[in-house]
């Protein structure tokens, strides 16, 4: 039999998977999926994660490959359904069907006002929409989101992450009118305004008009200026194909279906947001998945029905918890409101106060799981306990849903744990819990812990200890070699995970040169050759340029070295110069020249301090209030060579304009009129994070001691390859705990941390100079141990933009 599915969104994809899993007898030999978008199904629930650095690929839901007999045609929208001929038409052809499933989803609703087609006006629905929005936002400063519901707040957060000043315009009198009441909306509004977002409620958009390069947006009585406008004011079902095919639709849109999700035509089904089951549309993914399963069952002769859906939601929007479940208004409402702390809770009860009917939580939704499971029965504990912050210590009942996206209960999760699941990955694979929006993953983790499943912190198969435990063992027991450590505390001979970790710990504790004795064999290739390996097996060389300050004479030396050895040169993001294309046997000669001119290793190859960037500061800049270059140089010289769990980057800005981008660094310093502000835990890279303000108006001496302790505490306690950002986020008690430890000395370790840093500073020596002075170490820098002067014949260069670059490997080399 031939089946056509129109739509490859989340629900369409779920349907295809659900049918393939059930259709073991292969009744449907030919399944054709038509998708309007050019991408395979992706996780629209987590769409906003795109602006957190999650790529389109990572949002993909579809496994690689398709079930046998299935063809997915992307970028080929259906243009018509001919029910008489039983074919679906597209611009490219015709697809006959015995059964047809419509999973066409929704479109963003844009109110019928003038100017919505202007450049700079966007909707918030697909990855393409988000990409267009991001492209347009570059270099602009202000955006308006129309819609103060769930999607609107997500869009507002996206604009914030794009660096735009953001305003929300909502037609209803308060935010999130579908989920919370006026009082809850007011608290939510306060929390959102604290983030610097303007909120205009009770304001309908009247029109948009171009105003120079900007847009003028009429909102109620106001006219607001912005560079772009995003409509996130709800969705409407995509029912146009069904209408054109003469299928009945609901009064307010949506393809009318019965509880079996069948339309008026017995061969045609509709599922997900485009379907109006008994007249009602559902805008959440969980009911859509349930409909997909119903139709998969029905098509194979089953009698499943869609029994309505739980519309409870729990979300974190702009950092604020919002949850609603069951009825949100009823005979007896019990309310707790604390505007000072941004907390609001309402429980809806029967008039005898014996039965819970529903409720709303804003600011703290920890009690959501317990309360939602109790709807229809008595409140599971004292009312007052639920009306203030935090989750009372009440166990979740077994039938409580842990994952609402995939309707997985606590009992199902415990069953999987009982059957041997020992980590979150296994629970995801076995139960599907946590695979859609991911918000229940912390709950899965705590269920594992409650069930007594220890989450392994073992470093690798050779050590049952975490990095922090190994650090303490080595420090307290005074262990000096890898052999001694693995002999006493490990098994086997070690590997590429534990060897570099132990090498780094030994180096952090002042274990001498990283290539001394046995330590040399523990190092990754970069640390082994004190240079950065590149894709063709050559290395790059980065001399240290503290604070990015360099004399013309030294610049000339770098230029001469690069010219004489034929190296490709590039300015790095850390204000220094990277020299590429050095063969391993050339490294000592290159460094001889650099060391003679006064350069030192830049440790670009190490998990160590990289650079301390700086702006030009008060010496030159009209705005500078402190000597940022001087401080950056001093910090870079103090912490150079410090080995750590991951690389360390820093910057110093001479005024609040922050030209050095200090807040994207592991530790960043910004000058004030009277001293320095210290920020910690910032990160560029895959998951950018702004550093947190740690201390203000410090003297230089206070600043340096605080950074000393911050770095040493991080080095002692972080996991392998954990940057300060992730470390800080995982630290129990977070920033407050960090302050207690390194400012108030709550653990009594500050003197130790200070002493450790003093040892580092006192014991620093340039690694490259030491290699040049040691013939044993120099002997390792050869191309071939039996022909030290023969260069690797596979390395070849070509010229691009006037510099030497590697010939791509695997390409035929051009013969002379």
């Amino acid at each position: 039999m031939r089946l056509v599915v129109i739509g490859n969104g989340m629900v369409g994809q779920r349907f295809v998977e659900s049918l393939a899993a059930r259709d073991t007898a292969r009744r449907f030999t030919e399944v054709t999926v038509l998708g309007e978008e050019t991408r395979r199904a992706y996780d629209r629930v987590r769409l906003s994660a795109f602006f957190d650095g999650v790529s389109a690929e990572e949002l993909t839901l579809a496994p690689p490959g398709v079930p046998a007999g299935t063809t997915i045609r992307l970028g080929e929208p259906a243009t018509a359904v001919d029910r008489e001929a039983r074919v679906v038409r597209t611009a490219a052809g015709e697809y006959p069907y015995d059964a047809l499933v419509l999973a066409t989803g929704s479109r963003a609703f844009v109110p019928p006002v003038p100017g919505t087609g202007s450049p700079g006006v966007f909707v918030y629905r697909t990855l393409d929409d988000l990409e267009a929005l991001r492209a347009h936002a570059a270099g602009r400063s202000a955006g308006i989101v129309v819609g103060g519901g769930l999607l609107g707040l997500e869009a507002a957060n996206a604009l914030r992450l794009l660096g735009l000043r953001t305003a929300i315009v909502e037609f209803a009198p308060h935010l999130m009118p579908m989920q919370v009441d006026a009082a809850g909306g007011a608290i939510l509004r306060r929390r959102i305004e604290e983030l610097g977002i303007d909120v205009h409620t009770g304001a309908g958009v009247t029109g948009i008009a171009p105003d120079g390069d900007r847009l003028a947006v009429g909102a109620g009585e106001l006219t607001l200026g912005a560079d772009l406008v995003v409509f996130a004011a709800g969705v409407r079902p995509r029912d146009e194909l069904a209408r054109a095919a003469g299928l009945p639709v609901a009064e307010r849109g949506g393809i009318l279906v019965d509880a079996s999700c069948r339309t008026a035509d017995e061969r045609v089904f509709a599922i997900g947001e485009c379907a109006a089951v008994d007249g009602r549309c559902y805008g959440l993914v969980a009911p859509g998945y349930a409909m997909a399963d119903v139709v998969a069952d029905r098509l194979l002769g089953g009698d499943a029905t869609f029994g309505g859906a739980d519309m409870s939601t729990k979300l974190k929007l702009l950092g604020v918890d919002v949850a609603s479940f069951g009825a949100t208004t009823g005979p007896l409402d019990v309310v707790y409101a604390d505007p000072a702390h941004g907390l609001y809770a309402k429980l809806v009860l029967t008039d005898d106060a014996r039965t819970l009917l529903g409720g709303i939580l804003v600011g703290d939704a920890a009690a959501y799981g317990v309360l939602k499971a109790a709807v229809g029965g008595p409140v599971p504990g004292k009312l007052a306990d639920f009306l203030s912050a935090g989750a009372p210590d009440v166990a979740l009942p077994g039938d409580a849903q842990v994952c609402s996206c995939n309707a997985v209960t606590k009992d199902q999760v415990l069953g999987a744990i009982g059957a041997g699941c020992a980590d979150v990955g296994c629970l995801k694979a076995c139960t599907r819990a946590g695979t859609t929006c991911g918000s229940c993953v912390p709950l899965l983790r705590s269920l594992l812990t409650e069930a007594g499943v220890a989450q392994s912190t073992a470093l690798c198969e050779h050590f049952a200890y975490s990095r922090q435990e190994l650090f303490d063992l080595i420090r307290v027991r005074g262990i000096a070699t890898f052999s001694a450590l693995i002999g006493e505390y490990g098994t086997g001979r070690g590997c590429d995970v534990c060897k570099p970790v132990v090498a780094s710990i030994l180096a952090s504790l002042g274990g001498g040169h990283v290539l001394d004795g046995e330590q040399a064999a523990l190092q990754d290739t970069n640390d082994h050759f004190l240079a950065n390996i590149q894709r063709d097996g050559t290395y790059s060389v980065v001399p240290r340029i503290p604070g990015g300050e360099i004399t013309p004479e030294r610049l000339i030396v770098i230029g001469e070295v690069a010219r004489d050895f034929g190296l490709y040169t590039k300015i790095t993001g850390g204000q220094r110069i990277d020299l590429f294309g050095a063969r391993v046997e050339q490294l000592p000669a290159i460094w001889r020249r650099l060391v003679d001119a006064g350069f030192e290793s830049g440790h670009a190859y190490g998990k160590a301090l990289r650079t301390v960037k700086s702006c030009v500061g008060s010496t030159w800049c009209r705005y500078g209030v402190q000597d940022s270059v001087g401080l950056a140089v001093a910090l870079e010289l103090r912490y150079r060579g410090l080995r750590s769990p991951h690389k360390l980057k820093s910057a110093v800005s001479g005024c609040a304009r922050e030209c050095a981008e200090a807040r994207s660094k592991d530790f960043g310093v910004i000058a004030t009129e009277t001293g320095w502000n210290l920020y910690v835990g910032g990160n560029g890279g895959f998951r950018p994070r702004h550093a947190d303000l740690f201390a203000t108006d410090l003297s230089t001496e206070e600043l340096v001691r605080t950074i000393d302790r911050f770095l040493m505490f991080y080095i002692r306690t972080a996991d392998r390859l954990q940057r300060t950002a992730a470390w800080l986020e995982a630290l129990d008690g977070g920033l407050e705990h960090l302050r207690a430890v390194i400012v108030d000395d709550s653990l009594g370790i500050c003197a130790e941390l200070d002493a450790a840093m003093d040892r580092h500073v006192g014991g620093y020596a340039d690694e490259w100079r030491a290699v040049l002075e040691d013939p044993d170490k120099l002997r390792r820098f050869v191309s071939f141990v039996n022909e030290p002067q023969t260069p690797d014949p596979s390395i070849a260069f070509t010229v691009e933009r006037e510099q030497r670059v590697p010939v791509p490997l695997g390409m035929p080399e051009v013969s002379a």
Binding site: E461, G492, D496, A521, T525, G537, F784
Partner: protein, 111 residues
């Protein structure tokens, strides 16, 4: 008919660090020679079969599940030093060459 096996001396055992390797050029073939912790030696191809660069000799030597392995410095795939099999990608493998120590000299058959 006689087959002649040619052992080529590449370096002294003492030229290699324990649990570390070096590259050697044997009859035009790039070979990665490793010294294990018990002073046995192993030889495999120096070219990373997945990435194309001649860098295997610069990888970390260790064990995985009891098998002696070298880990590519490019993208960390582990290769069994006895069989050449890649333990992370069944499609990849390194050529394995005979290697021994005689009178303190490392010898390899390749080329």
């Amino acid at each position: 008919m006689t087959t002649t096996i040619t052992w080529t001396a590449v370096c002294r055992l003492g030229d290699l660090l324990p649990e570390r390797g070096a590259a050697a050029l044997v009859g035009g073939v790039q070979v990665a020679v490793f010294r294990l912790h018990d002073d046995q030696v192993r030889a495999v191809g120096n070219r990373d079969p997945l990435w194309g660069a001649n860098v295997m000799s610069r990888g970390i030597v260790g064990t995985r599940g009891g098998r002696a392995v070298v880990v590519s410095p490019m993208h960390k795939q582990a290769y069994d030093l006895d069989t050449g099999a890649c333990l992370d990608d069944p499609a990849a493998a390194l050529p394995v060459y005979a290697a021994r120590v005689r009178d303190g000299v490392v010898e390899v058959v390749a080329g």
